[in-house]
């Protein structure tokens, strides 16, 4: 069953001559336990798509459902199924990691002892033990990003949105976060990943879609897209030397699928 289903979503801002199309007739679906990469340049509409699916924004046209629930008709129910890591670190820096995680666990409905247990689990899972008692605004960007992820996971969401989650992280933190994302996928979590780092998408995503000119130009598995670029009738190893970067360049140059 599809956990995320997007059908003909459009979003525009402004009116008349000032109208800007952020998304135009975008459709895709993501299954359970799948990582779907939404790729594109700056202002391609990736974060707008995440905002719509996270119920922060309503589409101008089209429909979308998450875990079978319509995001416009039942946003409150959708919010119970999703975890969100936004592009910018979204934490209350004046709190300690443990206190903020505890608050979020309580807001998601955990009773106090269960919330404490869940926080302990997350602190262990994301290696936050040495930092959990310190004010978040005194922690490094990498640790803050892990707290961001922990906050998104507090209620064990079935669908996780990661909006450029590794931006600004050092290589060690990035690799550690990748491991976590893969482990979540293996547990059955559906993950929508937006990123500009194509190597990240290539290593993590089961399927990707390229956004260009507010629309999806092409989508498929990284391997299939590379094969398409190398001409699908060629032997499979013809695509071995290609990367998603080559696909991206082809897509952005021609504005058409490879």
């Amino acid at each position: 069953m599809e956990r995320i289903c997007v059908e003909g979503i459009s979003k525009h801002f402004g009116r008349g001559s000032k109208r800007v199309d952020a998304l135009r007739d975008v459709s895709f679906a993501v299954g359970a336990g799948e990582i779907f990469g939404l790729l594109g340049s700056n202002s391609a509409g990736k974060s707008t798509m995440v905002s719509i699916l996270a119920t922060l924004m309503q589409p101008s046209a089209g429909s979308a459902s998450v875990a079978g629930i319509d995001v416009v008709a039942h946003p409150a129910r959708v919010r119970r199924s999703i975890g969100v890591v936004l592009q910018a670190s979204s934490v209350d820096g004046s709190q300690t990691g443990r206190r903020l995680l505890g608050l979020h666990a309580r807001l998601h409905g955990y009773a106090r002892p269960a919330a404490r247990r869940r926080v302990d689990e997350l602190v262990a899972m994301l290696d936050l033990g040495a930092f959990a008692e310190r004010r978040i605004d005194r922690l490094s960007g990498g640790v803050r990003r892990r707290i961001d992820l922990a906050l998104a996971l507090v209620h064990r969401p079935t669908v996780l949105y990661l909006d450029e989650p590794t931006g600004g992280l050092d290589p060690t933190s990035r690799l550690a976060l990748w491991d976590e994302i893969r482990a979540l996928r293996d547990e059955g979590t559906t993950i929508l990943l937006t990123t500009q780092q194509l190597d990240e998408a290539e290593r993590l995503a089961d399927r990707v879609a390229f956004l260009g000119g507010a629309s999806i130009v092409t989508q498929g598995s990284p391997a299939a897209l590379k094969r398409a670029l190398a001409r699908s009738d060629a032997p499979s190893d013809a695509s071995d030397g290609l990367t998603l970067e080559d696909v991206y360049l082809a897509v952005t140059t021609t504005g058409a699928p490879p």
Binding site: S51, A54, T55, L56, M57, Q58, A76, R79, R80, I82, V84, L86, A88, S89, S90, V91, D92, G93, S94, Q95, R99, L100, L103, H104, R106, L107, H108, G109, Y110, A114, E121, A124, M125, L126, D127, L151, H155, R156, A176, D179, E180, A183, E187, G188
Partner: protein, 269 residues
């Protein structure tokens, strides 16, 4: 990284609205308690108390005019000055918007109104807390409230309701401007409102144009009601007028805050 615990089958249900508000108030209070501006505001309110008494309380004509104890007379002014603490509500929201923490809250199963109500509640509670501290100082310095502790409790209630209005006003400014400095400075707009009231001398001594401005100024009725409680006793009319003025002020400001917040939620942060 260490390994994860197995996934629970049971999905928790979000808590009810009052619990959400209480949890969010706890979070915001912890942050607001560390805000040096609020401590400074309290120091200024107490400072005004001392300075007004130091400069005017020694003048026999003035003291006779206000009934013999200048601290009794000036105490409501210090309480109103402390009400600027209600601005904490707007600052909480602006800070949350700027660090995108508000957006995270909006992706959670937390009611939008719980977020707004918690911020306004923290602002109003801070006004009440500051009013209590200022009144305590006033009594220590020599004020002798005619209605005792019960009367001072009513003064705090009036301040709390006034504080709700001020918190609503700061939420409006905060959500519209999304700017910490503008939201902090928004309280300055209330300075003329406070001074165009019988703040420093009885209403009968004001010049005609100030007396007219004072008659349409809700802050005047709040000052007069508090003053009646402290100086004269349980006079029903000024107390009811003070309560009505503060409730009206709070109703207008909170309605504005609700409208602005709903519009912002629709537009997106």
């Amino acid at each position: 990284m260490s390994r994860r615990a197995p996934r629970d089958a049971s999905t928790p249900q979000p808590p009810r609205w009052p619990v959400q508000v209480a949890l969010l108030v706890g979070r915001s209070s912890a942050g607001a308690g560390r805000n040096p501006v609020l401590a400074l505001n309290l120091v200024l309110a107490v400072f005004f108390l001392l300075v007004y008494d130091g400069s005017l309380g020694g003048a026999k004509a003035v003291v006779d005019l206000v009934g013999g104890n200048f601290y009794n007379f000036i105490l409501p002014a210090a309480v109103l000055a402390a009400a600027v603490a209600g601005g904490a509500a707007g600052l909480i929201l602006v800070n949350d918007i700027q660090r995108t923490y508000l957006q995270r809250q909006l992706t959670m199963p937390v009611h939008r109104s719980a977020i707004m109500v918690s911020a306004v509640t923290v602002g109003a509670l801070q006004v009440a807390l500051q009013a209590i501290v200022v009144l305590g100082f006033g009594v220590l310095l020599g004020a002798e409230p005619r209605t005792g502790v019960a009367g001072l409790a009513v003064v705090v209630v009036i301040a709390l309701i006034w504080g709700l209005g001020f918190a609503g006003y700061s939420v409006m400014v905060g959500v519209l401007t999304r700017d910490v400095q503008l939201t902090s400075a928004a309280g300055l707009l209330f300075v003329p409102l406070i001074f165009m009231s019988p703040l420093l001398v009885p209403a009968s001594e004001l010049k005609p144009w100030v007396r007219f401005a004072s008659s349409v100024n809700p802050a005047s009725y709040v000052v007069e009601g508090m003053r009646a409680l402290i100086i004269r006793g349980w006079e029903v009319e000024p107390i009811v007028k003070a309560l009505a003025a503060s409730i009206g002020f709070a109703a207008v400001m909170l309605s504005g805050a609700i409208l602005v917040a709903r519009w912002s939620f629709r537009r997106g942060f």
